[in-house]
């Protein structure tokens, strides 16, 4: 007996199994079509641009494109001694075009990054090259400035030959690759980025900790109070949550200023002298206080929604079995709230690590974070490839935290309010 005869057929004569499969496929396509507009929109306007940031951050075609003949001639040069005449000639021809097009300045800046003092040498060459005679360019160029006899300068040019570079990432952690191609740290007084990374993580960590310490008791109170009281108190959490970030930052700027209410209060209690009011804004204190208050609702809400589901009889049972309130709390209640703690801490930490507005307004010089540095390079120095590199480093960190969290707790229990 063959298996075909046992197949159930639909009224159309198609086997039921196949018909079901077709229906399933149709449904799949239908569901996918509903998601498709948003998915496409996000991929085009968001995902690809983030990828674009990556190609920008490693892009180093500028110098490569400015000196095409030179790099072609340099292919054969081993970099040990001064390059041969062809390289000098190619460089002279490339540079002549740049000077003519008035784009030599860009090359001067770029090569100066590579080797200090390159700018003046190139500027002098720009002036002198007009009088050059045909042939024997090596002699003529070396006559312009004695640094052209130094092989280091030619190596510096050669180092910029590849179209791609990871130097921006090295710069982001205060490192660079030196003349010999070794990766070394920048001199101690110029290590600004590492300080910023450490400070960002430190601020995010402490803000998360403060938020947790403050949110836990009030979330517990909100979850255990009778509905009519807790609804009223909930407004105290939700109103700041819905209020503009800038409004809340503005109120902290008023409160924390030197003649502000907080300082008035300290003077009134006699903690500080009137003529010796402490600076509470434009430093780390301001960043900590304002960020904690602003991010606190993001900790309270997940904690509350988890605590709401914990039955009070569990604590009572623990106590009736002889546990002291403290033991009952730490052995019964606290472990049950861990999903809420995880969600709240993740949310606050991720928000804090990318914070920009509040540190920029109340942080001053000692309270700015890595985001401020990214914005600074985007808007002021216009070093977009460096801003992209730092942004991606930050993003990698955030995604790593997210991934770890997902492994430990699971992302599904994040709720909004």
């Amino acid at each position: 007996m063959s298996s075909d005869t046992r197949k159930i057929l639909t009224t159309d004569g198609i086997p039921l199994e196949e018909s079901l499969k077709q229906a399933e496929k149709k449904n799949k396509i239908k569901a996918f079509l509903l998601v498709a507009p948003l998915l496409l929109f996000l991929i085009i306007t968001y995902m690809i641009p983030i990828g674009d940031m990556f190609s920008r951050s490693i892009d180093d075609k500028m110098v490569t494109n400015m000196l095409p003949k030179t790099y072609k001639a340099m292919e054969k040069w081993d970099g040990k001694e001064l390059p041969p005449e062809e390289v000098f000639e190619a460089f002279y021809l490339d540079y002549k075009i740049l000077v003519k097009n008035k784009t030599a300045g860009k090359l001067q800046t770029q090569l100066n990054y590579e080797k200090n003092g390159f700018k003046s040498v190139l500027k002098k060459l720009a002036r002198k090259q007009k009088k050059f005679e045909e042939g024997n360019y090596k002699e003529q160029i070396m006559k312009v400035h004695k640094r052209w006899r130094n092989v280091e300068y030619w190596r510096a040019i050669k180092r910029r030959a590849p179209s791609y570079t990871y130097s921006k990432y090295l710069k982001g952690v205060d490192m660079y690759s030196n003349e010999d191609g070794k990766i070394v740290q920048v001199s101690e007084d110029r290590r600004i980025h590492r300080i910023l990374w450490i400070r960002t993580v430190e601020v995010a960590f402490f803000v998360t900790l403060f938020c947790f310490l403050m949110a836990y008791p009030i979330a517990h109170l909100l979850a255990t109070l009778p509905m009519k009281y807790s609804n009223l108190l909930m407004i105290c959490v939700l109103l700041p949550f819905w209020t503009s970030l800038l409004v809340r930052t503005a109120s902290w700027m008023i409160l924390l200023q030197q003649q502000g209410i907080v300082n008035d209060f300290f003077v009134w209690t006699g903690l500080v002298a009137d003529d010796n009011r402490p600076e509470m804004m434009y430093n780390k204190t301001g960043t900590y206080v304002a960020m904690t208050q602003i991010l606190l609702p993001f900790m309270v809400l997940p904690l509350y929604s988890v605590m709401k589901t914990i039955s009070p009889s569990l604590m009572r049972a623990g106590k009736s079995l002889g546990a002291t309130p403290a033991v009952a709390f730490f052995k019964v209640y606290f472990p049950l709230t861990i999903p809420g703690i995880g969600a709240g801490c993740l949310l606050v930490f991720i928000l804090a690590i990318g914070y920009y507005i509040t540190p920029a307004l109340v942080g001053g010089a000692s309270g700015t974070l890595i985001s401020n540095q990214i914005a600074y390079h985007m808007k002021s120095t216009l070093d977009w490839s460096f801003a992209s590199a730092m942004g991606l480093m930050l993003l990698t960190g955030v995604l790593a935290i997210y991934w770890i969290y997902n492994k430990l707790v699971g992302v599904d229990n994040i709720k909004l309010g």
Partner: protein, 284 residues
Amino acid sequence: MALPKYTEPHYRIWHYFYLLICGCVFFFLIAPLFVIFPLSFNAEEFLVFSDGMKRLDPDAFSMRWYKDMIYGTKNPWGLAARNSFIIAIFATLGSIILGTLAALGLSSRHMPYKGLIMAILISPMIVPLIISGVAIFFFMAKVGLAATHLGIILAHIILGTPFVVITVTATLSGFDHSITRAASSLGSSPYNTFMKITLPLILPGVISGGLFAFVTSFDEVVVVLFLAGLDNTTIPIQMWTGLREQLSPTILAVATCLIILSVLILLTAELLRRRSERLRGINR
């Protein structure tokens, strides 16, 4: 939360201490908002409580900063407010339409690669704003939409859709799909079924997601800072500039208006949440 009579004294003390801590935290949360209120009625230009205000002298209070906000020539608050509302309304509409459709698709049990797609859809919420700002700026500059309303609206749709997707998916999680099947079996077209059955039931989720999207757009400053030109200044941008340069009481007048707006939004959101829970049969 009254304590039972048999409570031991040291536990009683601990309990009052705990209530005190809670009180302090609530104060810390809400009090800063109330500083802005009286100071925005200050007759003087300084951002401290004047002696007259402390004595509740009526002359120390005035509406001059509100007048300055509306009629002041130096402050383009009118333009900023108009831009903010236009951008927020269109961004909300876009987020609602795209987000609701996507949530409907995601809630279908036939949806392939659910986890991956959900991760992509809510990624704008997880990625730090500054990075989103840089990426979106690169895109908008490339397609020539930087410093246009459309560019900012599209950017805010990106930031707003995750909220709609999350709230609508949550509403749909308690949704009984047999009623739409019942409607179809009774001859209703898919469009009719959606409009008459599905939409009214998920509406609270849609609107509360829309509220999140609206507030996100209305309050968004990081991405707009990269995108906005002089013509597309918004309220947050104006506030940002004002706070950076010089804190004027006019900003406090604007801030007071924004707080009133957020109270309204909060009330709407709360009402919707309760209605949604009632509709979905969740009793707490």
